[in-house]
Point group: C2
Chain length 328, copies 2
């Protein structure tokens, strides 16, 4: 565990300066503040003991920063987290990062000034100064669904490897060889973990390892539709398409319908993330049910453990496959 001396040394400042920055004092220069907070983030420094007593009085409010409130995965997670928080006497305040690191940092700043007892955070990428500052001030934090490189916090998320395994088994059982994969950003742990599991498992499941069948968007509908069109433009003709999250599947579906008609030319579609309406889609969509509610509930329980001064245990939530393929 890093000490404040380690932080001062890494930042190249004196112990007094590091101490002032980490206690939130305004008597520090912007440049030393930046260096100290970056060093604290890199070292995973968390203030303990006396510093913890600087924490403000209990407010009975928790903060939840989601990546994209329009993504049903996060609105479902927010709803479940709020019900769990409420059952324990806490209000839940939400903010939306809109998949944007600057907006995420602004939201963290607002939460810091709004006196919350703890934070549930779905990260947009690497650690930011605002996050480092919250960590250094010992605000209890748990992570949702995405990890942050170099930051060791309790984590509540989907078991991506297990979920992709279900999809690979399904593709094999259905006899698919030419499968298109529309992935997400490699900079997000969800995008990277799902791609690794899928690409690494193809050969063992009888699926072609042709790179022309693989492309990636940015986990939005528009980005995924463009990626799907790039795949089709290469002249390959997949018999199935795997979308790496819900929005990605919707974008791939849109592109398939535009190019191949309302039945997507008979291409079977499988998704990581299940949306309620997939049962009513044409063509039907088979999906890995990513249990947003269980993640939200587990994360709140973990945060409450931290607030009681106990340890929180990270959880990887297992998924289920909802098979909607037509059987003859």
């Amino acid at each position: 565990m890093a000490t404040i001396k380690d932080v001062a040394a890494r930042a190249g400042v004196g112990l007094g300066t590091a101490s002032r920055v980490l206690s939130g004092s305004a008597q520090t220069s912007p440049s030393s503040r930046e260096r100290v907070l970056a060093a604290a983030a890199e070292l995973g420094y968390v203030a303990h003991g006396p510093a913890r007593s600087l924490r403000r009085a209990r407010t009975d409010a928790l903060g939840l920063l989601v990546s994209d409130i329009r993504n049903p995965f996060f609105s479902e997670l927010a709803h479940a987290a709020e019900q769990e928080a409420r059952a324990h006497g806490y209000a839940l305040l939400l903010a939306n990062a809109n998949e944007d690191a600057d907006q995420a940092d602004d939201a963290l700043r607002t939460f810091a000034s709004q006196r919350i007892d703890g934070l549930l955070l779905s990260p947009q990428g690497p650690a930011t100064p605002q996050l480092a500052s919250l960590l250094a001030r010992a605000v209890p934090i748990v992570l949702l669904n995405r990890r942050i490189e170099g930051v060791d916090l309790p984590f509540y998320g989907t078991d991506n490897e297990q979920g992709v395994g279900l999809v690979l088994d399904w593709l094999q059982e259905r006899g698919h060889r030419d499968v298109a994969y529309v992935g997400g950003p490699q900079t997000m742990s969800t995008g990277a973990e799902r791609a690794r599991a899928y690409l690494g498992g193809r050969a063992a499941h009888g699926i072609a390892t042709d790179d022309a069948l693989v492309d990636a968007g940015d986990f939005t509908t528009d980005g995924a539709a463009a990626a799907m069109l790039r795949i089709l433009d290469r002249g390959v003709r997949p018999t199935a398409v795997f979308g790496a999250n819900g929005a990605t599947t919707v974008g791939a579906l849109r592109a398939l319908r535009e190019r191949l008609g309302a039945d997507a030319g008979g291409v079977e579609v499988v998704s990581f993330d299940d949306f309620d309406w997939f049962a009513y889609a044409s063509p039907a969509i088979t999906a890995v049910r990513n249990d947003a509610a269980a993640i939200g509930v587990g994360a709140v329980q973990g945060l409450l453990a931290l607030l009681r001064g106990e340890d929180a245990t990270s959880q990887r939530i297992a998924t289920e496959l909802v098979d909607r393929a037509a059987r003859s």
Copy 2:
């Protein structure tokens, strides 16, 4: 405009007591607090002048209380409101009422203690003590999509009558006579206004006025599915179904598919509220596009006007019909 004397008289307390309650003093009994706040809500009392100076320092945060964060209408509205607030230097903190008046009141209490500059509120029903208290403390508030009986606040919502008119015209153009209507709660202005416009306009559009074709849920998928099944159980056989909001349409669709098969027995479906995925549904769903983003942006602009000390102008946002009916 009601004065503090009117409030005291209505509440049956002295002027000093009314003044203490409305300035948020703790030196009042619970019973007089309740009576004064109820009277203030009934009279639409808003503190002015000196009372306004009791307002706390600017926090650069706005609060948004939505009815149901899992409803895409509200998550789209929240996203648009947040972008607009951000463009004007304000953070937006969300809370979810979960279509529940008690949860709404808890959220208002949290917002009151969290120091927000103003509030965007989607009401769950009649005025509550917490709302009356915020009003009496002159916290600027605008209403989203639903009105509150007896409370005169700037309002930003859908033009329900105009939207239902588009549906009636479409039903007539398609030659439908036996149309099922699955409505929402009469206690919500949206439910009441849409039902009034539809039921009142049927005859003039050649639609049967048979009451067996009409039922209502609670604006949730499950409630609407039950209502749709009740209609079918009466032995009527509609050629089209109109759902009074997005979740209601999804519930009606589910019930139709369960009873009549994946093509809903050829019944055409039309919805108040358009969800992105309706384009990919089977059967296709025609829908009134309820412009959640325009409502969110207009409401933030209205709230910012109030914060500048200007008047805010209520807006009824017109809808468009997205026709997805199959043409032969």
